[in-house]
Amino acid sequence: MRIGNIVFSTFLIILLGGAYYSTLQLPPSLNPNAPGSAYAPRVYIISGIILCTIIIFNSIKEKTKEKFELNNRFYLYVFLSVVYFIAISFIGYYISTILILLSLLLLLGMRKWSSLLLIPVCYSIFVYAVFDLVIGLPIP
């Protein structure tokens, strides 16, 4: 039994069900000879639900038992990413980027002060030089 596959496919079936419901609100085709806006998405959704069901059955039949383990650090990294994106809007790109790089380097085990200082600063200088000065991109 492959727990991960079962959980993921079930989640997808629910998502696809929601998407199907959303297609019901799309207007029908004005031309009776041609499919409308909802046609292709509905074909995809129905095929997707059938495939998810097949995957669930295959995963249940599977003799080898697969453990599903996810390192809690994954959620921490996702959380940090979201905080970083929000911080960009408030304290600007450069300060947020220096802080996120510093946090990530520390979390990944970097303890050398020179690297902790140099990597975020050098990266920010690189972005400033390439994106701000050369390309002229408005950095948030």
Partner: protein
């Protein structure tokens, strides 16, 4: 063609473009050498840097990264038995044996020479086949384009890995994501949840960076195997002219194999490399040394995987069909710079096509020079720990996604798809079918509906039209042949047990 090629030379031989190609070659080799970051991530990360560049310079930069990353993959394969790219897996067999014998310089020399020759040959193959194919594509209407899209999708079977159901589900997911936004025919919003940011659909590049680069970054964040490669400096004991002459038949054969395999969407450098490796055993002068450190065993896969680049560009440039995630990113780059590959490219921007061709040739030459003189720099690059690479790739991905539309919304989309990509990797769902479907979804749907409008609802339009009929037959074969083959293989295995 000669006149157009001369125009291509005049476009590329400017200081600016030569520097851009050199930058592409350095970045490409470095990215290829770093395990986990292949040409797909490399081209995705470099895409934002192309803003503000002339379209031809932008495309040439990305193509240079693509080409040189294929060589870069061999460096780690040879020195530490860890292929930098999947296409360099076959290079490990003999490349690492040569390193163990104390001949890493020879192995790197064979790889570099073969990659360069493979790259040059495939560029000529590109010119030879892309132009006639573009003229042929002039005859295409909605039915043919629909069939072409279906052909592209039929490759899902070969990209699905062990589970066809998973591959198909990923393609369906890609098609659904592609249908987000305004309906291409009626302008009706679909799955936009009232957000105007989604009216133009899910931005392709944000999706690709999320699925490939960010998901890889999450894998790196959680990976415990810290890079402890303290590879020593490598002496530049390059292959001799006599050795090169001995390798030439293998290099030429492998280059043609790579070019042909490259054209087949979905096949890719890995298949080409193994095929070339197997085939080279027949003609190699050092065939007895295979598996024990044969130079031909390094040259064959390396010539072949670089030759797939030109091959892969044929359907992209002539028909606008990407056959791999990397060419999907290139397609995104074309669109971003206001270009449409296919017939239009030759009609309106022929100089760009020839600029790309000349750019490829120059890339090969730069790859050779940079690869040769910077050998020990690559050795240092592969010693950089993942704890440094991962945060930097993360930060570059974010600024890259933001820069496409100056939109933080795209960044959130990339993160969402990065998380999705991480779980898909974890549960062994293949990523390539999503990308293929994401790129082809719009084309398939709009041309299907246009065709049915023309035929007044009759599906026979796809079978009565000779070109679409042939394409549909090829699609059916492309879809079922790998399934039949894997069924035969598994049957053979159970019988032998």
């Amino acid at each position: 063609v000669l006149g157009e090629l001369l125009t291509g030379f005049s476009i590329i031989f400017t200081w600016e473009n030569l520097l851009i190609i050199m930058l592409g070659a350095v970045v490409g080799i470095a990215i290829g050498a770093l395990p986990g970051l292949g040409p797909t991530v490399g081209t995705a990360l470099m895409l934002p840097i192309t803003f503000g560049m002339e379209p031809v310079s932008a495309i040439v930069l990305l193509v240079a990264v693509y080409m040189t990353a294929e060589y870069g993959g061999s460096i780690t394969a040879i020195l530490i038995a860890t292929p930098g790219t999947t296409a360099a897996t076959a290079t490990v067999v003999d490349g690492y044996e040569l390193t163990k014998k104390g001949l890493p310089g020879k192995a790197l020399g064979a790889s570099l020479t073969a990659s360069t020759v493979g790259g040059i040959i495939t560029t000529f193959v590109l010119v030879l086949f892309a132009v006639p194919l573009m003229s042929f594509a002039l005859k295409f209407g909605p039915a043919e384009y629909f069939a072409l899209g279906v052909f592209g999708l039929s490759l899902v079977a070969s990209l699905s890995g062990k589970s066809l159901a998973k591959g198909l589900l990923m393609a369906i997911l890609g098609l659904l994501i592609a249908s987000i936004g305004l309906d291409p025919l009626t302008g009706q919003p679909r799955f936009t949840f009232g957000s105007i940011y989604l009216y133009e659909g899910v931005p392709l590049i944000a999706a690709l960076i999320g699925l490939y680069a960010l998901s890889e970054v999450f894998v790196m964040f959680l990976s415990k195997n810290e890079n402890k490669n303290k590879t020593k400096s490598v002496a530049r004991d390059y292959i001799s002219f006599k050795e090169f002459k001995g390798l030439l038949p293998v290099i030429l054969q492998s280059s043609f194999i790579g070019s042909i395999v490259g054209v087949i969407p979905g096949a890719g450098g890995s298949i080409a490399a193994w095929l070339a490796y197997q085939q080279s055993k027949r003609i190699a002068k050092d065939k007895e040394e295979y598996g024990k450190g044969a130079l031909s065993g390094v040259a064959a896969p390396e010539a072949s995987n670089n030759a797939t680049v030109g091959g892969a560009l044929i359907p992209l440039l002539s028909l606008g069909i990407p056959g791999s995630p990397t060419t999907a990113i290139l397609l995104g780059a074309f669109m971003l710079h206001g270009l449409s590959p296919g017939v239009d490219l030759m009609e309106t921007d022929a100089e760009i096509f020839y600029g790309i061709v000349v750019g490829l040739l120059v890339t090969c030459i730069f790859m050779f020079i940079i690869g040769y003189f910077m050998t020990n720099f690559w050795v240092k690059i592969i010693s950089i720990p993942q704890s440094i690479i991962a945060p930097i790739v993360f930060a570059i991905s974010i600024i890259g996604v933001f820069s496409i539309r100056n939109s933080m919304f795209d960044v959130y989309i990339a993160l969402a798809l990065g998380v999705l990509g991480f779980f898909l990797r974890k549960f062994n769902f293949p990523l390539a079918p999503i990308v293929l479907a994401l790129v082809l979804g719009g084309m398939i749907e709009s041309n299907l509906r246009r065709s049915l409008l023309i035929s007044e609802g009759s599906w026979m339009i796809f079978l009565t039209n000779p070109i679409s009929l042939v394409l549909i037959i090829i699609s059916v074969l492309t879809f079922f042949i790998p399934i039949i083959n894997s069924f035969k293989e598994s049957k053979g295995k159970t019988q032998s047990m």
